[in-house]
């Protein structure tokens, strides 16, 4: 399978990329690692007329301790998120989840920013950063703005990013020793999750987000709310699907997914409470 023909430009900075996308408008797409976009282009599910390659914008690949949060450049590869000592110490849920994206070859190419901007509800990192209360920094022609992860995802593969904006940084609050768990249920190695759960817990505080349980990654606010009021793990987990609207597909029916979400949220909370 070969993608349909397109024009190709290379950007050497975020500013140049944004200027280029301004010229070509909605016919253009940013190409980072390409591990979400190129498969879609081969299948003609995406057919951009122009690809703007941002893969060489080296100053957007970093992981920095910024005090209360960890700042991660959008072009940081999954493998670097997985192996980062800073993240192991301050946001271990994220580095652990990154190790479950695809396989090692995919993780050598795919980027955290690409995965989030792609906004696939079945991907691991959108939901994980959502659970962690991350903030995304996006840059457009008029400068930068910050978007809370909880307000970023708008629909299936749709986000709050405007056509001329680019995700440049992910800010993840430090976990401060919170317990955490990442549950990914799939039938074969390297598959997307049929249902996944990213969760952390500190006393009565918790953050729980669901993978592949609707058209966007889902923040399970009912679960966190019940735990805050002192509900048991089992009672809280029963509310796992309150905010979700999962589809039926060849892997699982809606009912099966809802049941699985409760089971996995319970396991995640038990694991995070250890």
């Amino acid at each position: 399978m070969i993608p349909a023909a397109f024009d190709y430009k290379r950007a050497s900075s975020a500013a140049e990329a944004i200027s280029l996308v301004g010229q070509y408008g909605s016919d253009a797409k940013f190409l980072a690692g390409g591990h979400s976009l190129l498969p879609l282009m081969k299948l003609r599910l995406a057919q951009p007329a122009m690809l703007i390659d941002i893969g060489r914008v080296k100053d957007l690949s970093y992981i920095k301790d910024a005090g209360k949060h960890i700042a991660i450049g959008a072009l940081t590869r999954h493998m670097d998120v997985e192996t980062s000592k800073v993240l192991h110490e301050h946001a271990p849920l994220l580095s652990h989840a990154a190790a479950h994206v695809g396989d090692s070859q995919v993780r050598h190419r795919g980027t955290i920013g690409g995965s989030i901007a792609h906004a696939d509800p079945a991907s691991d990192l959108p939901a994980t950063t959502l659970a962690l209360g991350a903030t995304y920094v996006v840059q457009g022609p008029k400068g930068q703005r910050e978007i809370a992860a909880a307000k970023f995802f708008k629909g299936f593969l749709e986000s709050d990013l405007a056509a001329d904006e680019m995700l440049v940084e992910i800010r993840v609050p430090k976990m401060q020793g919170a317990g955490w768990s990442f549950q990914k249920f799939n039938r074969r190695a390297q598959d997307w999750a049929i249902v996944g759960v990213a969760a952390w817990r500190r006393k009565n505080e918790a953050g729980v987000a669901l993978v592949n349980m609707g058209s966007t990654p889902i923040l399970a606010t009912s679960v966190a709310g019940a735990l805050a009021k002192g509900a048991s793990v089992g009672d809280a987990a029963a509310l796992a699907s309150n905010e979700a609207d999962p589809q039926s597909d060849l892997n699982a029916s809606t009912e099966y997914r809802k049941h699985l979400a409760s089971v996995l949220v319970r396991r995640a909370l038990e694991d995070a409470s250890k």
Partner: protein
């Protein structure tokens, strides 16, 4: 678009369409057909090569993205007619059946040992999750990788 790509130590200058996939560039432009196309959707790993020293799936990279990169394919492993230790280990441990996945398996396995020189059997199995063997011959593939690592 003009690209300059070093493959197995030799620099190549070519003019490619932006949509040319790296695996097609390797096979059809350079004539190095050791790298196979299996699933064509970054699942099976048959197209695994090394790009700047790391295992990647060449079916999901554009040739233009590899401009300036140093690649190694299965053809670049043997030196002066002597096979790479991983190739020898696959031969000695019967790590292949039909052979289709083998170039990708060998490249992925070398990449795995570069990052984790003494893996456990479990780490080999997880580390090769991106490579599928249609003969289901995983047992001897894992054995070969452990032998090459001197872990067994």
């Amino acid at each position: 678009m003009k690209v300059s790509i070093t493959v197995n130590g030799k620099e190549h200058h070519s003019d490619v369409e932006p949509r040319t996939l790296l695996v097609h560039y390797i096979r059809e432009v350079l004539g190095l057909t050791g790298t196979n196309v299996g699933c064509d959707s970054s699942s099976c790993g048959a197209c695994t090569i090394h790009m700047n020293g790391e295992a990647v799936k060449s079916c999901t990279i554009l040739a233009v993205q590899a401009d300036g990169a140093k690649l190694t394919t299965i053809e670049g492993l043997a030196k002066d007619g002597v096979m790479h230790p991983m190739q020898t280990a696959f031969m000695e441990n019967h790590g292949l059946q039909c052979g289709y996945c083998t170039p990708g398996m060998v490249m992925a396995a070398i990449g795995l040992l570069n990052e984790n020189p003494k893996p456990t059997e479990e780490q080999v199995r997880v580390g090769l999750e991106g490579n599928l063997c249609r003969c289901t011959g995983y047992h001897n593939i894992v054995k070969s990788v452990l032998a090459a690592a001197g872990s067994k």
